[in-house]
Symmetry: C2
């Protein structure tokens, strides 16, 4: 008789880049989660303010709807995907009034799937009910530089490195200097050539102003920009729906900042988005992201991951829509100098055409680089009265 | 020449009831905020998991949208209500991706208004643009007891104490034992007499099941229950709208668990609620609550506070709709044995008919009991690497 596997420990590690430069590094810190159960270990990553997210895990109980997330996870059974679903229900029931809950639980849940996949010797996408993993075309993020000339150089570099899809934006783009913005976009398109796919991130610059967004429509069309991401603030459902009506749903994308399945349904059904971008490290984990991917698939919307952290998080994000062939794009973190790249020993490679297929490996299929993880750890200690409620554990 | 007043310090105090008994005490802990600027001091209270909320204030910066809330508050100008509005905008811009932000900022913003009112020698409701404070009928919370007989005793006690409106519920009410539920409600109505107003809190027991809620309609009508609060889970907009259609909007209430103006608009406009209940210690503070009250007032909905913490929080909640005479109810914490009652030296009294009028006192008009506050404080210390990022200050 074998005994039931139960979750024995959940350890949280806050990592910081020691010499962070916002102009160079996509992230200055991150939060890794390690779960142990039986002979197995799983890893996950939150895309969330690390310290506040850790607090949600270790906080004392405050109310029957504000229990620490740890209370719903530690000691629970972990044998099947249904066990993870049961833990998820309990977390969101008992920690409903800790607003930070979805952010910490995203990394915890990711680690649960990684562990379960290793235990069952299956890739996570198979545990989610997908027979196989379809290839996705990777797009990389290349922000506009200060000048069109520099932007041209950056884009050329990405093109020459073999990437066949690029998302750009920022540096004031969309702010109304129409001639400057046109020059930037023209430089990008020229450097990338006609065949590279191009997307724009407006970073909420138009707030709720549909006319301001519409003035950029001809520019998007001229330079073949497929969609605009986050044209408006997240709550501007009316503006989103109007832009979708005027430009077509498939040209309007958003979703990276939401943190629940219910919010995703509102973006798709009320804000009338055609492209939903989900960060598996924020939305509540792999289960929540998969629910949204399947909903988008059924209802004609397009699903894509939002990932700018590690390839551990990238693998988690890809599992959620691996088996849905119509959704054939993915955001791809490419920066080898970053903390995010270094903490993984293995990465998800692209084929010569710039496409990615998840390997058939157990769990998330990514090996952590423990020496690198250790080198980035910030030691944390929290004392409440006489009790130490948290102290950074050993890797 | 006088110099500009700037926010010099924001201190956070986590309080715990040492011998908490969930059957007796409405809260086991709370988070108080003290703001100092110039010669003045203001106090606020978060209705939120204290430790996680404090973490959002003192966290290291993680991302340009995940800055600590403290960074947007400390050192800011505090001379006029517009200064508070400017701080609010900066907080929600710079800390957008710290989910806990509305919960910590609610208490901070409350303290800013208290301080500003004291400085300008005006009650907060006048700074919000209201000429006067209208009386509100207080309702108290009296949960169902284990038996109808005990419920009868409890209700009788509330009635005899002079309360003229009561909210009840819990203890499994609504779970389908229709005869037991009828007996409870009958006992409550009999003890309260025909003239006491009665409301029911369903505590989300029907999840999203409109039929289950509708089966209780005749019972509500028979015993004169004016509205049912939180019949469904918060995201069940469709169920809410359907119940409003079938029973009338004015019979369906919710809102205590939301934390933004945008969420309130969705409850009113999409879930089609007729009664919106806002907790000033969760929603983002007095400014956010006032915006919602005015919106409800304009659009025909009914606004009421949700408050089960201290009379400091109660005063803050009442300022937000003091000048709107149509909204003439308020939730009223009455438990003199609780931590919440003890930490205030002064309280908001009811008149012999059970109504409450905010006094014309500067700020929130409540004096804290510093000795009691001190007796409930839990000392907290947080070390990140070699740095102490938080240590409980002196009261």
């Amino acid at each position: 008789m074998t005994s039931v596997t139960r979750i024995e420990s959940v350890d949280l590690f806050m990592l910081q880049a020691p010499d962070f430069d916002p102009a160079r590094d996509p992230v200055c810190d991150t939060l890794l989660v390690r779960v142990r159960a039986g002979q197995h270990e799983g890893w996950g990553e939150c895309e969330a303010a690390p310290f506040v997210s850790m607090a949600a895990f270790v906080t004392p109980e405050s109310h029957s709807t504000s229990r620490p997330v740890s209370a719903s996870v530690l000691g629970q059974r972990l044998e099947t995907p249904d066990d993870i679903a049961a833990i998820t229900r309990q977390v969101f029931h008992d920690s409903m009034n800790i607003l930070q809950t979805p952010h910490i639980y995203s990394g915890v849940e990711m680690a649960l799937w990684d562990l379960l996949g290793k235990k069952l010797q299956q890739p996570v996408y198979r545990l989610l009910g997908y027979d196989r993993a379809f290839a996705k075309q990777a797009y990389v993020v290349v922000p506009f530089a200060q000048t069109p000339e520099e932007t041209h150089l950056r884009m050329r570099k990405a093109h020459d490195a073999g990437y066949t899809a690029v998302k750009t934006g920022w540096n004031g783009f969309g702010g109304g200097n129409f001639r400057a913005d046109r020059n930037q976009l023209a430089a990008a398109r020229e450097a990338l050539g006609p065949d590279t796919r191009l997307f724009l991130d407006a970073a909420r610059i138009w707030r709720g102003d549909v006319n301001a967004a519409m003035r950029y429509g001809p520019l998007m069309d001229e330079f073949g920009v497929e969609w605009v991401e986050e044209p408006f603030d997240g709550a501007e459902f009316g503006a989103y729906a109007e832009l979708s009506r005027l430009r077509g749903r498939q040209r309007v994308a958003a979703g990276e900042n939401i943190h629940s399945h219910a919010q995703a349904l509102r973006l798709l059904d009320i804000a009338d988005l055609g492209v939903i971008q989900i960060d598996c490290g924020r939305i509540g984990g792999i289960g929540a992201a998969t629910q949204i991917a399947r909903h988008a698939d059924r209802t004609g919307a397009f699903y894509v991951n939002h990932t700018y952290t590690s390839h551990l998080a990238l693998s988690a994000a890809l599992q959620t829509f691996a088996g849905l062939p119509r959704h054939d794009l993915c955001e791809y973190p490419m920066d080898r100098a970053s903390l995010s790249w270094k903490i993984c020993r293995t990465h998800l490679p692209l084929d010569p055409d710039g496409w990615l297929t998840l390997p058939n490996l157990p769990g998330l299929g990514i090996e952590m680089d423990f020496a690198e993880v250790k080198s980035f750890i910030v030691e944390l200690e929290i004392r409440l009265g006489q009790t130490v409620i948290y102290r950074t554990p050993d890797v």
